[in-house]
């Protein structure tokens, strides 16, 4: 007999749950782990206008979380109310659409009080400081306390009232990591507020885990400084500042160059009105903007801030406010895609400095190796390979042939060295071009660079001429679920210009009438399913475009200069000039760099001359 059979189990009367139980249930939504408690408390501190926020935790936040701020504080008389459900100072309840603070639901403190031992100590202006404690939902009395300013919220033994939840927490280390992530995200959004994060698990002062001092200066400088603190100098050095506005939506922040991409989506920080979010729409837009520069397993690194009138975005979608809903999703998406694409296009052929840093590293290791060689062995072991003939024919050896640029006048007109990629000087190993610029040297992978140039040209042609569609003799009927059918038909208008024509068919089927001619014979059913998967994951589809571009990329590979072809001076210079003129030529079709740049100072450093 099945105990879960609804007809057999005994009916229980309907009961009103008591407040403690209700609060615990609500707490489950808001507070799922220590990090979410930290997030709620820090957001409260920010809403209170704090300039310094100190966070302390112990045992991954399971035994202690303490958030101290220097904000305006809470008057002693309002302390009991602060712990009541749906009590907040942040909104008056008349307009849930116009929300300008982090919090607004009035749920955080009562929820925390329901699942842990909460103590709030606060001093409002010149009043006396006061303290209130709540233990497993039971609110104590307001007592006088000592505090110079602001509020200290202390949460001990989180989830002691809900042991089930405690069992589902990860290790202390993982929870501490999550807390640190939360603080970093909030710190990014508020560069002018100072943050510290301490782990006091061992007692005493504990260990400082994170520290960000308040940044000064205008918004961009402050943000750059804060991002440097949090994400490292590498990120800022390889990121493009973003600042764009469209119809009241403002996008600011930094987006990293494609060559500074990551293997997982770990360095994507998105904020809407200062609120950290992980929103499908925004992540999809990000992917769309970088689609052309990164292979599918690479992820861009960005810190982007979208700001708009609070009325145009609904943050009351998700209890932890990680998702938002835009009133004009197309506008938000369009702004992100076009702004990033534009910025990346302007950066054009720039490859990340991490690339040249890596190059320098490689050079250095080699130098040290030679340096350690003692004089005697240096005399016997010539710098070149020992079996190489010592005659003058050595320079014709094909493996390391250097093709000198014959005549400077003919190949390097005046001022060429001032151009970003400089003047070609030689070709090494029948592929790599060495060029000299005003402030250093450039090493170009000729094959990769030319491949990218051909690819960009093919894409441009495709964009200008449109995608030719091959009409099918026997239209392909694809059976789908009702939701999938609606989704694919919704996208039909955007697929038609790419040569894929989809029409409704009886029942839950759609009919594919035309496919992109360049793809040849297409397995339409599989393609439709791939598109649908992508639509449900990202809310948009790149599948058809990706496939077309994959073909173009293959064509480009065949149509480009191969390694092993010797290039003349004018040819090399022409390639460099075309790279400068072509957007996105700094990386090949897979996000690898097409050239590295060594600054004069880098070269001098190699020789210890700096």
């Amino acid at each position: 007999m099945n105990a879960f059979d609804p007809n057999i189990s005994q009916r229980q009367p309907i009961r009103q749950l008591d407040d403690a139980a209700a609060n615990r249930i609500a707490a489950g939504e808001v507070v799922e782990r220590p990090a979410s408690a930290v997030k709620e408390l820090v957001e409260n501190a920010l809403d209170a206008g704090a300039r310094r926020i100190d966070v302390t935790y112990a045992d991954g936040g399971k035994t202690l979380i303490r958030v101290s701020d220097d904000g305006h504080g809470i008057p002693a008389g309002e302390l009991p109310l602060a712990l009541a459900r749906h009590a907040t100072s942040k909104i008056d309840g008349s307009d849930l659409l116009n929300i300008r603070s982090f919090g607004f639901r009035g749920e955080a403190l009562p929820s925390l009080g329901a699942v842990g031992r909460l103590t709030i100590t606060s001093r409002y202006g010149k009043d006396e400081a006061a303290r209130i404690a709540v233990n497993g939902g039971a609110i104590g009395a307001v007592e006088p306390a000592a505090l110079t300013r602001g509020t200290v919220v202390e949460l001990r033994d989180l989830f002691h009232a809900t042991p089930a939840r405690l069992k589902f927490l990860r290790t202390d280390r993982a929870e501490a990591q999550a807390i640190s992530d939360v603080i970093k995200r909030l710190a990014m959004a508020e560069p002018s507020v100072g943050f510290t994060l301490r782990d006091v698990s061992g007692g005493g002062e504990g260990a400082l885990k994170f520290r960000a001092d308040p940044e000064n200066g205008d918004m961009f400088d402050a943000l750059a400084g804060r991002l440097r603190t949090i994400l490292g100098a590498d990120f800022i050095d390889n990121a493009l500042p973003i600042d764009a506005e469209r119809e009241g939506l403002i996008l600011t922040g930094y987006a990293a160059l494609p060559t500074y991409s990551r293997g997982a989506a770990v360095a994507q920080f998105l904020f809407v009105n200062g609120r950290p979010v992980r929103d499908k729409l925004l992540i999809g837009a990000l992917r769309g903007a970088y689609a052309d520069f990164l292979s599918r397993d690479r992820h861009p690194a960005v810190a982007l801030f979208l700001a708009c009138d609070p009325e145009r975005v609904d943050v009351n979608v998700h209890p932890a406010k990680a998702e938002v809903r835009f009133r004009e999703p197309g506008l938000a998406r369009g702004l992100i895609v076009s702004t990033l694409k534009h910025a990346l296009a302007e950066a054009g052929h720039r490859a990340s400095t991490t690339v040249s840093t890596a190059t320098l590293g490689a050079f250095r290791a080699e130098t040290r190796g030679h340096y350690q060689m003692d004089l005697a062995s240096r005399a016997t072991l010539s710098y070149r390979q020992p079996d190489r003939p010592q005659s003058g024919f050595a320079e014709f050896a094909p493996s390391a042939r250097v093709e000198p640029v014959h005549s400077a006048e003919e190949t390097s007109p005046e001022g060429v060295e001032a151009l970003p990629l400089g003047a070609a000087r030689a070709q090494l190993h029948e592929n790599y071009i060495v060029a000299q610029t005003d402030d250093g040297m450039i090493l170009v992978d000729a094959h990769a660079a030319h491949e990218r140039l051909v690819y960009e040209k093919l894409k441009r042609q495709m964009a200008e001429n449109g995608v030719a569609a091959q009409v099918l003799l026997i239209p392909e009927i694809v059976e789908l679920g009702a939701d999938d059918r609606a989704a694919i038909l919704n996208a039909a208008d955007s697929l038609a210009p790419l040569g894929l024509t989809i029409e409704p068919f009886g029942g839950n089927a759609v009919c594919v009438r035309e496919t992109p001619a360049i793809l040849g014979e297409v397995n339409a059913t599989a393609m439709i399913h791939d598109i649908l998967d992508e639509l449900s994951d990202l809310g948009q589809t790149q599948t058809v475009k990706d496939r077309i571009e994959a073909i173009l990329s293959r064509v480009a590979c065949h149509g480009s200069v191969r390694t092993g072809r010797r290039m003349s001076g004018p040819e090399m210079n022409a390639l460099l000039r075309e790279m400068e003129a072509t957007p996105h030529s700094g990386q090949c079709n897979h996000g690898r760099p097409t050239y590295v740049k060594l600054k004069m100072t880098d070269i001098e450093r190699l020789f210890g001359r700096s």
Binding site: K457, R460, Q461, A469, V471, I474, V522
Partner: protein
């Protein structure tokens, strides 16, 4: 086993057998050919598990027997032997070696046991008929260009052979399509083929059968069952599985009401298509056909690399029309025309177009336009 055979006879038999053997095999025995010597004949049997070729040749058998040996190696050896040489094959059945001698050359090849060789199960053929090699050759040759290569639509990866009601009465019909174009070729129905079940003959089988059809006058015995098809000449028997799937109802997509008629010299048309498509570097080159009274202008426009057009004098008396096609498709169907002019029947720029040779309805082609 001990056999003596003339080099060119051996060569001919071996080459037909070895061509079905795949170059790379995961099952070692499939790389081998089964050699069976008995009476005054030697038989070579090779298979890829889908197709089996059995080829017999006259030989002097001094000791009957059977063995298997690597097909490609044996074929290469025989090919390199001098013309007119007598080749001796012997295997004492114990050493696991096949000894090959010809003149002063001597080879010794590793063998695998003949018992391991997979022999295709014989089956009942419900339909048997005989057709002249030239007729079968025409049927397959004219249809095979349209066979699909898209593996997921496996039922299009072959030629659909069946009995149908053609324009000139009952016909043996071959149809192939890849979803973009279609070929339908008819021949008068041979006696005994009335009960022919529709079968899809795989692409590889079509290619192998074509190799058996050098003698135009020879009679090919065709046997068909639900799962297999067999083509036999006096020396060679080729048995193949057929594709297990149902061929789509192709008759619906052959347009009946197309009324704009263009008649053009096929070779001249093909050369012109080839010339104008040179300017486009794209993989799918689109050629535009602009038709006006007795005038056809072929044009290709690739904004970056250039443009080309060529005017042809044609017979066309209907209202003007512009329509685009994949250049490769046009070349391939124009290549099927060998005696008369090509006649195209159009409806509109988005509808299927029909092509045939003169007024001959025994071979019709349908090609879908491209929308540029």
């Amino acid at each position: 086993m001990k056999v003596s055979i003339e080099r060119s006879t051996l060569m001919k038999a071996m080459s037909r057998a070895q061509s079905v053997v795949e170059r790379r095999n995961t099952i070692p025995i499939l790389a081998n050919v089964l050699i069976e010597a008995e009476g005054d004949k030697i038989a070579f049997r090779a298979t890829d598990l889908d197709i089996e070729v059995l080829d017999t040749a006259p030989a002097v058998v001094s000791q009957a027997g059977a063995t298997t040996v690597g097909a490609h190696t044996l074929h290469e050896i025989v090919r390199k032997l001098p013309e007119g040489a007598m080749v001796e094959l012997s295997d004492d059945g114990t050493a696991g070696r096949l000894e090959i001698s010809a003149g002063r050359s001597h080879f010794s090849l590793a063998t695998l046991p003949k018992e391991d060789f997979p022999v295709m199960a014989s089956s009942e053929y419900e339909c048997n008929f005989s057709v002249k090699a030239s007729v079968l050759k025409r049927l397959l040759d004219k249809a095979k260009f349209a066979i699909s290569t898209e593996e997921t639509r496996y039922y299009l990866n072959g030629i659909y052979m069946h009995a149908a009601e053609g324009a000139q009465g009952k016909a043996l019909r071959c149809v192939a399509t890849d979803g973009h174009r279609l070929a339908q070729v008819d021949a008068p129905l041979p006696a005994g083929a009335e009960t022919l079940p529709g079968v899809i003959v795989p692409r590889k089988t079509v290619g192998e059968v074509m190799k058996l059809l050098d003698d135009d006058e020879a009679a090919i015995a065709v046997s068909v069952s639900e799962t297999k098809v067999r083509f036999a000449t006096p020396e060679v028997t080729l048995t193949s599985k057929v594709i297990d799937g149902s061929f789509p109802d192709y008759t619906r997509v052959i347009p009946q009401g197309n009324n704009k008629r263009l008649e053009v010299d096929a070779a001249e048309f093909a050369r012109a298509v080839d010339r104008v498509s040179t300017v486009s570097s794209e993989r799918s080159r689109a050629v535009k056909l602009a038709l006006d009274e007795d005038r056809l202008v072929l044009s290709v426009n690739a904004p970056d690399s250039g443009a080309a057009d060529e005017e042809l004098a044609v017979a066309y008396a209907d209202e003007p029309l512009e329509i685009g096609f994949n250049a490769k498709y046009l070349l391939e169907i124009a290549g099927q025309v060998d005696r008369e002019n090509a006649v195209f029947m159009f409806n509109s720029s988005g509808d299927p177009t029909l092509m045939r040779e003169g007024n001959d309805d025994s071979a019709v082609y349908v090609v879908m336009p491209m929308r540029v």
